[in-house]
Symmetry: C2
Subunit: 203 residues, 2 copies
């Protein structure tokens, strides 16, 4: 996601929506994502301290603290796995499942913040997304590996999980922190087929 001075997704000449200062979230849903991943991402979008305070001190205020806007755009290409120079998108959740999942994230954002400050693009549409990246500031946010399979957790990751639990103090943190985890997908993992499995999806 990026810190924006403005962001406007458009289909042809039609502007779908627009925000001013805030966050443009390009959201790629994985086949393995669950409600817990969605909750984690919503919490981080709203609570990460990516903005300056009124005195200009950087990295002190969240989008919620500043009353800024959030624009979400579905972006399955973020789930790309490289097969040599070929992008493969089989790790992305299929559109018929990703669409309700994406909309549930939007609803979660709206119910956790001010609904009128949460905007979105048009799921699956071919769009021109005009982003004025302010800074620029771009953060790569992935929901962390979950406790469902503790054998896969490295010592460092376990420590980090404990730290995150200990340090969480945000307004919408306490009740959800316990479940905030999922299996981190291996970005090098094969999507299971040996032959030509590059996606036939259009952007």
């Amino acid at each position: 996601m990026s810190s924006t001075a403005s962001c406007v997704p458009a289909v042809g000449e039609e502007e779908i929506s627009s925000i001013g200062r805030g966050l443009c979230v390009l959201l790629g849903v994985s086949v393995e994502d669950t409600q817990k991943d969605a909750d984690y991402i919503v919490r981080k979008i709203l609570n990460l301290r990516l903005f300056e305070d009124e005195a200009g001190r950087a990295w002190t205020k969240s989008v919620v603290d500043r009353d800024f806007e959030v624009l979400c755009v579905s972006q399955f290409t973020l789930q790309c796995v490289l097969k040599g120079n070929k992008p493969d998108f089989h790790s992305a959740m299929p559109a018929e499942l990703a669409q309700p999942f994406y909309h549930s994230i939007l609803e979660n954002l709206r119910s956790s913040y001010k609904p009128e400050l949460i905007k979105d693009g048009r799921f699956g549409a071919y769009m021109q997304v005009h982003i004025q990246n302010d800074g620029p500031v771009t953060i790569d946010l992935t929901s962390p590996m979950g406790p469902s399979d503790p054998r896969q957790l490295s010592k460092q990751e376990k420590q980090q999980q404990r730290k995150e639990k200990t340090r969480s103090k945000g307004p919408s943190e306490s009740s959800r922190e316990k479940g905030a985890a999922r299996s981190r997908r291996d970005p090098n993992a094969s999507s299971g087929a040996d032959g030509d499995v590059s996606s036939d999806r259009e952007p």
Copy 2:
């Protein structure tokens, strides 16, 4: 990086540079990055098939195939590690080292392609980067873990490395493929300090 219809970084009213169709690359350099990582990233930027061919078939042509432009912008915030809701940037290469590293990547891109089609922002400057993300198409590109510490390689990653070596056929691939690897940094790893170690860098 994003597929662009246009991208224009600006400092105040001054437009630093601009591209039309092509790739906007937001480049975050890690403290652990080496020449091999740089070579890998350059090769993937130039050779990934992210564009359609003349018949409109998606994911068939690279930026080089289409004679499109590349705009690189330094973006240390991509090396963010979360400490709860606090972004920490100690994993980013310090600016005095990252600047020559970033410029060597630009030179590598220029010498591997047409120099006049490689543009850049202004290292370290506070900019407004106007990106028209076409699609949108955004790819999260990380140089893979290197063979320097094979104990850290999972079986899947080793297989993937072998596959990438076998499948590489791009014009600028053969000589560099052997060295294309580095240690994947653990995004949850601590930056080594226990107290308040959030970055004091401005965007």
